[in-house]
């Protein structure tokens, strides 16, 4: 990668805004490098460094923003970790891959929902594949005839239960779906948070997913 000169923002009308790359602060340069647009900026010298050398000669360095380091402990933890991998067809060349870290083998079903419809999948371990010290417990596989998709009725009834719960929460607050949808963002976040707690839905990774899901349910209440 060469030396970056300018950052250019091109608009849909063909106009462009640009700025000398050297005028960007370090954080923006670092963010751009994370997007793969340039090399990371040379950072200032850390207060301390640790150089690790492996038995085969491989070496790695890590900076620590503290001075006067002294080793307290070094140990490894060996333990069997179980992680769920959920891959989703999205009509593109590559599937989307999600990781389920919380008790993955205890997930019993999944509802896939968007503006256009719903699908439900029931998970049950039907196949186990062992390769060396790795074991895969297959709870659903589209390509394996042992697994079947649930009929749309189950998905619809799951969504209906959710919508009814959201409706009940709206009634408790003497609100309509329209009124809530037109509140400002901060107010909505508070009420969405309360509703999600009341109906027992938590975010796996991002709280904004909870808010988005409640908003989707509100749209369904409205229609």
């Amino acid at each position: 990668m060469g030396i970056p000169k300018r950052l250019v923002v091109e608009f849909d009308d063909g106009s462009r805004n640009e700025i000398e790359f050297s005028r960007l602060n370090r954080q923006i340069q670092a963010d751009l490098s994370e997007l793969g647009l340039c090399s990371p900026p040379v950072r200032e010298v850390s207060k301390s460094y640790i150089l690790l050398r492996w038995q085969n000669g491989w070496q790695e360095i890590v900076g620590v923003e503290k001075a006067h380091l002294e080793l307290l402990r070094y140990y490894t933890i060996e333990r069997v970790e179980e992680i769920g991998r959920m891959s989703l067809e999205v009509g593109e060349s590559y599937p989307v891959l999600l990781f389920v870290k919380r008790l993955p083998r205890q997930v019993e079903s999944a509802l896939l929902v968007d503006d256009t419809g719903t699908k439900v999948y029931i998970f049950a371990e039907k196949t186990t594949i062992t390769e060396g010290d790795k074991t895969e417990h297959i709870l659903y596989d589209k390509k394996n005839p042992k697994f079947t998709t649930e009929d749309s009725g189950k998905a619809d009834s799951w969504v209906s239960v959710l919508i009814d719960s959201v409706k009940a929460e709206l009634e408790k607050r003497k609100l309509t779906a329209e009124q809530l949808l037109f509140m400002d963002s901060a107010q909505k976040a508070t009420v969405y948070g309360e509703i999600s707690k009341a109906v027992g839905i938590r975010a796996m990774e991002k709280q904004e997913d909870v808010y988005g899901f409640i908003e989707l349910m509100l749209r369904k209440v409205k229609t």
Partner: protein, 246 residues
């Protein structure tokens, strides 16, 4: 060879209570999700691990530095305190074969106590980790009391007897008091057995005072201890070792 006793004391942490279900991702993760802050899970798990490096073990943090879980890990979010305790209990397990063994001992007519190194001041039943665990797992019916350096909790009345206050297992002063307490109930120390995993708190100090001792190695094996009369890795082995003294 069986031993004949009238009383049995069980150590709590890593003994009758098996913490192997307490994974950071589950407990810290669930608390963050309940606080509507799932984005902070990784950061808080990191801080919890830092706390462990400071104090050496999660057990030490929980028994002596619990407030730091809230102040340091959860950024002073007071709301996290109750949720953390609830989640912690949810993922704690009763040791394998424990209830079956307790049932056997109670059916034999042996009196049972929990003998725990609790450092936090006792409050009403269910507010400390030991009685909360017993209540959540449905084990209170098997035990008469919980004996700790903070006092003895009578599980049938919920009352607290403070004569054990300040006495510890490691120094042995708790066993001195226990010996007097048992004598008042007509039980000699030679008719009492202490079951626990740590030689320096559960086995040697009890043995020196005349108790029978069983070292439990099912969760952590601290190695053979000459003061242990028996070593077991599963509580159900107690059924072959202990009989009621008539």
């Amino acid at each position: 060879m069986a031993i004949e006793v009238k009383w049995a004391g069980f150590d709590f942490g890593q003994c009758m209570m098996d913490p192997s279900g307490l994974r950071n991702y589950l407990v810290i993760g669930d608390v963050c999700k309940e606080l509507n802050e799932p984005e902070l899970i990784d950061k808080r798990i990191y801080k919890y691990r830092v706390l462990r490096e400071k104090y050496g073990s999660y057990g030490v943090i929980k028994e002596g530095h619990r407030d730091e879980i809230i102040s340091y890990v959860f950024d002073n979010k007071e709301e996290a305190r109750e949720i953390f305790s609830k989640k912690e209990q949810e993922y704690l397990l009763a040791a394998k074969g424990l209830e079956e063994t307790l049932r056997y001992l109670v059916d034999q007519g042996i009196r049972l106590s929990v003998v725990a190194e609790l450092k936090k001041t006792l409050g009403p039943m269910g507010t400390d980790i030991v009685t909360r665990f017993l209540m959540n797992k449905g084990l209170t019916e098997y035990f008469n009391d919980v004996i700790t350096p903070q006092g003895k909790v009578d599980l049938s009345k919920g009352s607290i007897d403070l004569k054990y206050k300040g006495k510890t297992k490691e120094e042995g002063t708790l066993y001195d008091e226990l010996a007097r307490d048992l004598a008042a109930q007509g039980i000699d120390v030679s008719e009492a057995v202490m079951i626990g995993d740590k030689p320096w708190t559960d086995i040697s100090p009890a043995k020196k005072r005349g108790f029978k001792t069983i070292q439990y190695t099912g969760y952590v094996d601290f190695g053979p201890c000459e003061d242990a009369d028996f070593r077991i890795s599963d509580f159900r082995e107690i059924k072959d070792i202990v009989r009621k003294k008539l």
